[in-house]
């Protein structure tokens, strides 16, 4: 179907030959260092940003995860935490900030608005999930998620980082969405594919 090669494919090749002991120890050290010092880039827009601030404050304390140093400059950040709803006017800004972050980078989509547009914001102005703009690693649901929820999401990300392998090059691939690439689906085809269920442009759905 023209999708990119699954990351497992690369791993399968490696494990058939057996991993050298040095590489796995190095992986562990590098991943441990990365996971425990993820510098977040708080792309806070709305209410979730306030809960993010509360998570960073003294009661829930992000500093014990190594995330105390919040970098508002994307060039020095590891994790983009998109906290809050993203309207279409903000979409190119979010994309540009993601592009400015150097690899290795991850993304946490905090809150239902960032994860899926949140049912109440299914309208002309809001991006229905930032994964239509940038690749997301962890989705934290909630409106807003409790600080404990965000911390659980961060811990999941840490687990994901710990399971990475340096030999797997596909993890650090960055792709630009290119209209000529096989990932781009033109609007009439989208309408046709989603015909049985309708898509957002069909106004008769649920009577609204």
């Amino acid at each position: 179907m023209g999708l990119s090669r699954r990351p497992d494919a690369a791993l399968a090749q490696l494990s058939s030959g057996g991993d050298p002991w040095v590489t796995t120890r190095l992986d562990f050290v590098v991943n441990w260092a990365r996971a425990n010092s993820l510098w977040p880039m708080p792309f806070g827009t709305a209410c979730c940003a306030i809960e993010f601030m509360a998570t960073a404050a003294s009661r829930f304390d992000l500093a014990r995860f190594g995330m105390e140093r919040q970098s508002f400059s994307p060039r020095q950040a590891d994790v983009l935490i998109c906290a809050g709803r993203v309207p279409f006017k903000l979409a190119p800004v979010l994309r540009r900030i993601w592009q400015q972050m150097p690899q290795p980078k991850w993304c946490i989509s905090m809150g239902s608005c960032a994860s899926s547009g949140n049912g109440i914001f299914d309208n002309y102005a809001v991006v229905q999930g930032i994964d239509t703009i940038i690749p997301v690693d962890v989705y934290v649901p909630g409106c807003p998620p409790r600080p404990e929820g965000l911390l659980y999401g961060i811990m999941l990300l840490q687990k994901k980082v710990m399971n990475e392998r340096a030999a797997d090059k596909s993890l650090r691939n960055e792709m630009e969405p290119d209209p000529r690439s096989q990932l781009y689906i033109p609007p009439p085809v989208i309408d046709e594919i989603s015909e049985p269920f309708g898509n957002s442009v069909h106004q008769t759905r649920s009577g609204l």
Partner: protein, 436 residues
């Protein structure tokens, strides 16, 4: 209304003059020991002095309190012109509200001014109840006053924390957010949610307070003023704070009223306009509280006004929790309030009420209302127009922060770049409300 300003401020840090700037020591002295003014070197490139620089702040920037974009024209470091761009958080609230029943709009009211969620819920419910022609119960009124004042406290605490960070002081941020956590615990015990409360309903509230809640509130009210005093001690007479905030972003009283400023912004400019006193609601005229009014209309006065409002809110809360009457919290009108579930499943009339309310929603008569309340940002109101159906024809949010922010080009002209951040912080903007 007490004025809260003395002109002579005793500074707690030495080595500063009365304006908070460091004492200057002359570098060059002549033989007699008196300082010699150095002459500026002749301008080699006179053209350089005329070029203005264009700087873009935002929309993603830690100090803009949300996604605000300021394009500044600078002459050196002095701002000549400021062009703000907003709309980066425009999420179609007003459009969405036209497709929702009145009780279904309440979650939207939380999320626009998300620092003042319970206060917004109350503001909406007051407007909707006026539109329906419903009088709420006495207990509900007092509980709503408690909600409004608690939300004023948490909103001002966020403002305090983030403004201190912008100007350079990190510790008050942690103190104020710890106090917010204490209020969050109170909210959780009663409402179930921390931030986006969605708590009022047309005709009442979501639930009554649990047992022992007023004791928890009283213990919070005993401890909280001490924290305010502590922040006051550290910040108010600090030479750096005073130096960075005095004389900045001055708006005179006439300018403030003409620009539509409201809330602490207009009160700091010397206009004693508070919706609670002048167009009262929820029986605010029966509570004994003062409204602080500043004299100079600068950033420092706005800070003092908000600090004093924190103390006055504590005063109102003490009175409200003392006078809390017994009784129901919801009106008995089953056209707007859901009947109890046991009756809805057994009694035909209750079942019909339940069905109509859930499927269609309560329908107000034809009309329109605008009921303003005093939110922490200023005069907030929801203008609702009804055509007799269960969904409003038009649901308009009058956003105080939007109108307050529109005055920023006037306020920053002639100031330095670092002052822009301080002035922006003093307006207490929340982009959810500005962009809706």
């Amino acid at each position: 209304m007490a004025t809260k300003r003395t002109l002579e401020v005793e500074l707690s840090t030495t080595g500063m003059d009365a304006q908070g700037r460091p004492q200057r020591v002359p570098l060059v002295v002549d033989d007699g020991g008196s300082p010699v003014a150095l002459e500026a070197p002749p301008a080699i490139e006179p053209d350089l002095a005329g070029e203005h620089m264009l700087i873009n702040i935002g929309p993603q920037h830690p100090a803009t309190h949300g996604v605000l974009r300021l394009v500044l024209e600078l002459d050196g470091e002095t701002v000549v012109r400021c062009i703000p761009h907003i709309g980066y958080l425009h999420c179609g609230f007003e459009k969405s509200g036209e497709y929702r029943q009145y009780n279904q709009i309440i979650p939207y009211t939380d999320r626009e001014d998300y620092l003042n969620s319970p206060g917004n819920n109350v503001a909406f419910a007051l407007g909707a109840e006026r539109l329906f022609g419903i009088e709420i119960t006495e207990r509900c009124k007092v509980l709503r006053v408690i909600l409004c004042e608690l939300s004023r406290i948490i909103s001002h605490l966020v403002w305090l924390g983030t403004t201190c960070i912008d100007i350079g002081a990190f510790t008050p941020f942690l103190w104020s957010f710890e106090q917010r956590e204490k209020v969050y615990v109170l909210f959780e015990k009663w409402i179930g949610a921390r931030l986006t409360t969605t708590f009022t309903r047309v005709g009442g509230l979501g639930a009554d307070i649990p047992d022992g809640w007023t004791d928890d509130l009283k213990s919070f009210l005993t401890a909280f003023p001490k924290v305010v005093d502590e922040i006051d001690r550290v910040v108010t007479k600090n030479g750096i704070w005073v130096g960075r905030t005095i004389g900045l972003g001055v708006m005179t009283a006439e300018e403030a009223i003409n620009h539509g400023l409201s809330g602490p912004m207009v009160r700091a400019s010397g206009v004693a306009y508070d919706v609670r006193k002048d167009f009262p609601y929820l029986d605010y005229e029966t509570y004994d509280f003062d409204v602080p009014v500043g004299t100079n209309g600068d950033v420092y006065d706005r800070y003092l006004v908000r600090m004093e409002e924190l103390r006055q809110s504590v005063r109102i809360l003490e009175q409200a929790s003392a006078r809390l009457p017994e009784g129901p919290i919801n009106v008995k009108d089953h056209r707007v309030i859901l009947p109890p579930k046991s009756k809805a499943t057994s009694d035909m009339e209750s079942m019909i009420h339940h069905f109509k309310q859930v499927m269609e929603g309560p329908r107000p008569p034809l009309g329109e209302v605008y009921v303003p309340v005093e939110s922490p940002k200023g005069e907030k109101g929801y203008y609702m127009v009804s055509d007799g159906t269960s969904k409003p024809v038009r649901w308009r949010i009058r956003p105080p922060a939007f109108v307050n922010l529109s005055a920023i080009p006037k306020m920053v002209e002639g100031h330095l770049l670092s002052d822009v951040i301080a002035i922006n912080a003093s307006i207490d903007i929340v982009m959810g409300e500005i962009d809706r």
